[in-house]
């Protein structure tokens, strides 16, 4: 439809016809192409490597102390913040990661991630009704983290817990999502 184009581009050049297929031109063209392919491949190594480094450099969860166990009363649930083990200077306050600690008995703790299992919003603990409620879409969880109501597809994410020399420690360090819930005390949690 070039003829219908109100502004045809001036494609017809009035150059003298020349044979670019002469052996020398041909050789240089091929050499140029080859050089650029090699250089492109070399340059793409750092570009792609840089881009996917976040996937390759796997910051795995590590053990983090939440403080001495006697600061948690048996039967209570409260928020504790810990420092992201992989924080950088620029993280500022985003390196403070909150979690909910519930001391079920003298020796038993449950530590829940703050992120709702529906879409990751911060769940809040309501002591009187013994529920974790999510402000985004109204998900509710019982005090043992199991699903009580609303859209969440599973129980709250739970960190692996260990008592180490009188300190409560959890295995944490990544944002829990359905794809990678981090460390789970037991993968077969009740939902």
């Amino acid at each position: 439809m070039a003829s219908e184009d109100p502004h045809p581009s001036n494609g017809s050049h009035d150059y003298p016809k020349f044979d670019w297929r002469s052996s020398r031109r041909d050789f240089l063209l091929k050499l140029g192409l080859a050089l650029n392919v090699i250089a492109g491949a070399m340059i793409s190594i750092p570009i792609i490597g840089f881009f996917i480094s976040a996937i390759i450099k796997r910051d795995e969860p590590t053990w983090i102390s939440l403080g001495p166990v006697d600061q948690f009363a048996v039967g209570t649930t409260r928020m504790v913040a810990f420092e992201n083990p992989y924080r950088i200077r620029a993280d500022g306050p985003t390196s403070h990661i909150p979690c909910w600690v519930k001391r079920t008995s003298e020796q038993e703790f449950k530590v829940f991630a703050i992120n709702c299992t529906h879409l990751g919003c911060p769940v809040r603990w309501f002591e009187q009704s013994k529920l974790f409620l999510c402000p985004c879409h109204g998900g509710a969880f019982y005090e043992d983290g199991s699903h009580a109501a609303g859209p969440p597809p599973r129980a709250l994410y739970q960190y692996e817990v260990k008592i180490n020399k009188g300190d409560l420690t959890i295995k944490a360090g990544l944002l829990p999502t359905l794809a990678d819930p981090g460390t789970l005390a037991s993968s077969g949690q009740t939902t």
Binding site: I88, P93, I97, C136, L178, A179
Partner: protein, 510 residues
């Protein structure tokens, strides 16, 4: 003197071919009838982009894309940097207007049939521009690094984390690591100020090039059908008959509309001002309800309203289908009627889509599914729902308030709307049904069996059973009140009438 100026002008003309450039761009011929108010949305969208680029460049001079500093730099822009607040306001309202005007432009193009032959590529490039613009709006919301932005990213990660198999890798790619932090912000910064603006300019140039080369759509007349074989000649005919140079022939309304839009954006920026930043992005501070900016509220609302487990469909299947529909449109309906007056299904589609997005946006704004987190301590029970109650019922009202039932259940329209309003619950449920509901939960209500003592349940249900309007009797058991077996044996079987009479006498609370 004139001669000298003429020579200078000619000197430039010979080297830059400005006349030809002018003829091919601003002076390109358009149908005179396209100089209509409906044709001004495209140039208004482009004007918004120009505002975004100019204000964005100035904002970037002060803004610091680091999680530790971003919030402070925004406050500096708001309060310290002279006119920084106005610049932020224009950038925010420019963005809102850009999305709105772009959607109006798209709707007009759709209804006027401009996506049909030979403007398929113009439509496709426009669809890409829409996606990029929404990407800019989302990443721009991240730049306002407050709690909403932080949890918005968290929601984004949770959505990406639902993708099967590669979700985990994609989450890390998005966050720039295992956790949401400064590297996440930096990523979105480079997306917002380099990658997406670069891409939008590239696609805009394609879009404009196509507008120039394929011509602007003539306002369709009902009954004039597009045919691939004859349309080009037909359009040439129109241009020959009523073609005018875009500037100044059809530019007047664009100029007025652009001026009005500029004034609107400026007025919004002056009188309403910039948005936020809200609560700082400290994850340990869990106040407020994280909410996305307006263009994404409808998705946020839909996420709460779809049946549980349908998130995959909402976040991946539906957008994919929508994208396929948008991109396939000019190929499915390539010829034929262009006028909306003879395309009732298209008009209906626009109405339905607009209503759906509008209602979901409203739902997203009000968020009735979210518990009213502070209702139990901030709202008191009004006198008329307490007056004349027995001590037991009053005790139940205390349980209702203290056990935070109010966060999800409103009384007299005050409180959460996650669960049903209980102002007249006694007309719907009997005492035994209420006991069962409280203890076992169900129907999206948690069970309180382990959390309430039997006396608390007794008092609570007594209070709830008293909640009915004075002129409406409370609900009663369909089978009538149960009587102990001994009583039944001693007397004759009660007739239906007796049962009814007994039920009427049954006290409203037991």
């Amino acid at each position: 003197m004139i001669e000298t100026l003429r020579n200078i002008a000619l000197w430039f003309e010979r080297r830059l071919h400005l006349v030809k450039l002018w003829e091919q761009t601003a002076g390109h011929p358009v149908p005179k009838s396209s100089g209509s108010w409906f044709y001004t949305f495209g140039s208004m969208t482009m004007l918004c982009l120009v505002i975004q680029i100019v204000t964005g460049i100035f904002l970037a001079m002060v803004y610091v894309p680091s999680a530790a500093e971003a919030y402070h730099s925004l406050e500096r822009l708001n309060y310290d940097q002279p006119l920084g607040w106005l610049m932020r306001g224009m950038h925010y309202w420019g963005s809102t207007c850009m999305v709105i005007v772009m959607i109006l432009h798209m709707t007009q193009v759709f209804l006027w049939g401009a996506y049909k032959y030979p403007r398929e590529m113009t439509w496709l490039s426009g669809c890409v521009l829409l996606v990029i613009t929404l990407g800019l709006a989302f990443s721009g919301q991240v730049m306002r690094f407050d709690a909403d932005a932080y949890w918005g990213l968290g929601i984004g990660a949770a959505i990406v984390g639902r993708i099967p198999f590669i979700g985990d890798a994609l989450v890390r790619l998005m966050l720039g690591g295992a956790i949401l932090g400064s590297e996440t912000l930096s990523r979105f910064f480079s997306l917002h100020v380099f990658i997406l603006p670069g891409t939008i300019l590239a696609f805009l140039s394609i879009h404009l090039r196509l507008v120039l080369s394929r011509g602007i759509n003539e306002p369709p007349k009902p009954g004039v059908l597009v045919k691939r074989d004859t349309y080009d000649a037909h359009y040439k005919e129109i241009i020959k008959r009523e073609g005018v140079p875009f500037f100044p022939g059809a530019f007047n309304k664009d100029a007025v509309a652009s001026g009005v839009l500029l004034l609107v954006i400026f007025a919004l920026a002056v009188f309403i001002g910039p948005k936020g930043p809200g609560v700082p992005a400290d994850p340990t501070v869990t106040v407020g309800e994280p909410k996305p900016d307006d263009p994404f509220l409808f998705i946020f609302g839909a996420a709460a309203l779809v049946p549980n487990g349908w998130e995959i469909i909402l976040f991946f299947v539906l957008p994919t289908l929508a994208a396929i529909a948008l991109f396939a449109l000019p190929f499915i309906s390539n010829e034929g009627e262009k006028s909306w007056r003879r395309r009732p299904i298209s008009v209906l589609a626009v109405v339905i889509i607009a209503l759906t997005i509008g209602m979901l946006t409203y739902a997203g704004m009000t968020g009735p599914w979210s518990p009213h987190m502070d209702a139990w301590k901030s709202l008191d029970l009004k006198e008329h729902v307490l007056k004349g109650r027995t001590p037991l019922e009053l005790q139940g009202a205390l349980v209702f308030q203290n056990k935070q039932c109010r966060n999800c259940h409103a009384i007299d329209n005050e409180g959460g709307h996650r669960g049903p309003d209980l102002t007249s619950v006694a007309t719907r449920m009997t005492s035994p049904q209420l006991v069962r509901q409280v203890i076992q939960g169900g129907g999206n209500m948690p069970a309180y069996g382990t959390n309430l003592s039997p006396p608390e349940v007794h008092a609570l249900v007594a209070y709830l059973s008293s909640l009915h309007p004075p002129n409406v009797p409370p609900a009663r058991e369909a089978i009538g009140p149960l009587t102990p077996i001994d009583e039944k044996r001693s007397g004759s079987q009660p007739s239906g009438e007796d049962t009814f009479a007994k039920a009427q006498k049954t006290p409203k609370s037991d």
